[in-house]
Subunit: 248 residues, 2 copies
């Protein structure tokens, strides 16, 4: 049954995180409502990557489809972080303007399913330019104008990410295949908003036998080159103890 009809009432929104070796970023889509006479933007804001689902696809597939459309990438790490009724969140005058503007029979969304996506920055930089899509530091979201309940969704995603990162080795999804221990440490510091002692952090990583040192070293850096490491999910699955605490 290949019907491909849009399902009313339900939408999927993806909160896409990236890491630039300094800080955590989110992918947002900018949109503007242009006044036809003056040609100027009447209102503008940012949205998450979201769309309705089709009636012949799974929720996970819908999220993957949306992300593929936005970044050109397949096989992105995706995890649901919640479903939200949203009746009482479409409340600002601005939101109502948007609804009138975009309403094509689909505006009566009742439930939004939120997905958390982690992507390796080094793999997308090229594909982005031609769209009104760009990275924003997570620290900047508080002051941004965002559509509907998207700021709320963003913070729920961030909370979910911070929770999960302590318990599962998903942070590696934000790094390239080869990474240094300093990069890994900076990533965890950016994710959790803390800082770690270098020696103790490395001691902890040394116990994770699924973080494997390579023979390769950094090249062309103006200082002592660091060793590269690799995350092996295979080794992780085999050697995971019943432990809970991951980092920290």
């Amino acid at each position: 049954m290949i019907s491909h009809k849009i399902v009313p009432n339900i939408s999927v929104d993806c909160v896409v995180f990236g890491f630039d070796f300094e800080k955590l970023n989110v992918l947002l889509v900018k949109r503007e409502m242009i006044d036809e006479k003056s040609g100027k933007a009447l209102i503008s804001d940012h949205t998450l990557a979201g769309y309705h689902i089709f009636d012949d696809e799974d929720l996970d597939s819908a999220a993957a489809r949306i992300l593929k459309g936005l970044t050109g990438l397949d096989n992105i790490f995706l995890e649901q972080f919640g479903a939200f009724g949203q009746l009482d969140r479409v409340s600002s005058p601005k939101d109502k303007m948007w609804l009138e503007y975009i309403n094509q029979g689909f505006a009566d969304r009742i439930v939004t399913v939120g997905y958390l996506a982690l992507i390796d920055n080094t793999k997308v930089t090229l594909t982005l330019k031609d769209r009104d899509v760009s990275w924003f530091p997570v620290s900047m979201i508080a002051e941004m104008e965002m559509a509907f309940d998207h700021k709320f969704l963003f913070y729920r995603a961030l909370e979910a990410l911070q929770r999960k990162v302590k318990v599962e080795p998903i942070a590696f999804e934000l790094l390239p295949d080869y990474f240094t221990l300093s990069q890994l440490q900076k990533l965890y510091e950016a994710l959790l908003g803390t800082s770690f002692d270098k020696r103790n952090f490395r001691k902890k990583v040394a116990q994770m036998h699924y973080v494997i040192p390579l023979k390769k070293k950094q090249q062309g850096v103006p200082h002592k080159p660091a060793q590269f490491y690799l995350f092996s999910r295979e080794v992780y699955e085999k050697t995971r103890k019943g432990r809970i605490s991951f980092i920290i």
Copy 2:
């Protein structure tokens, strides 16, 4: 806007857990399709507590409403554990029979939002009898006939429960207000399928200052009476360290 129309496409299912001081149980609703001529049951199975949502209510409210209808209780611990597309799960011949039988325009559910409920057994025993609702040991679910994707949902709920119980003090929701340390230990053992050393378990609980000993003791037990304890969420919120590991 009080419209109270049923929202198509979306349903809420609650997986209700209870603890009888021995093992973990789930609340299931039995249903039968009766043949009008012979008066015999053609097919029968068990379902979770579920229903559609109304367009003027939140997801959480819908789940609470469904549970109130089933148990008569308000203020039940409820937490979402996921949203699921279910297109490809309504596949058995039996499921199709059911769909024809109950179809009243609502059968085309696309998304089910799953809720995990924890209830204090001692507070519901009375209200149940008059319905086809009863407790089943979690260990028995594997062999049971369940509707649609409900068995799948049950296991997802169980996984979520086992995950959360290690990280947050939600297990207390399954116990009466006053409980003994042995009851608490048995609960964790039932939840996680492990067993703990009594002395070490109690040492761990002693560090949780939000598990507070009372002056009351058990009465009428044919052995040394145990001291009662109380869980204080207030103290928990104030004294929680950044720690992750809860029990284990």
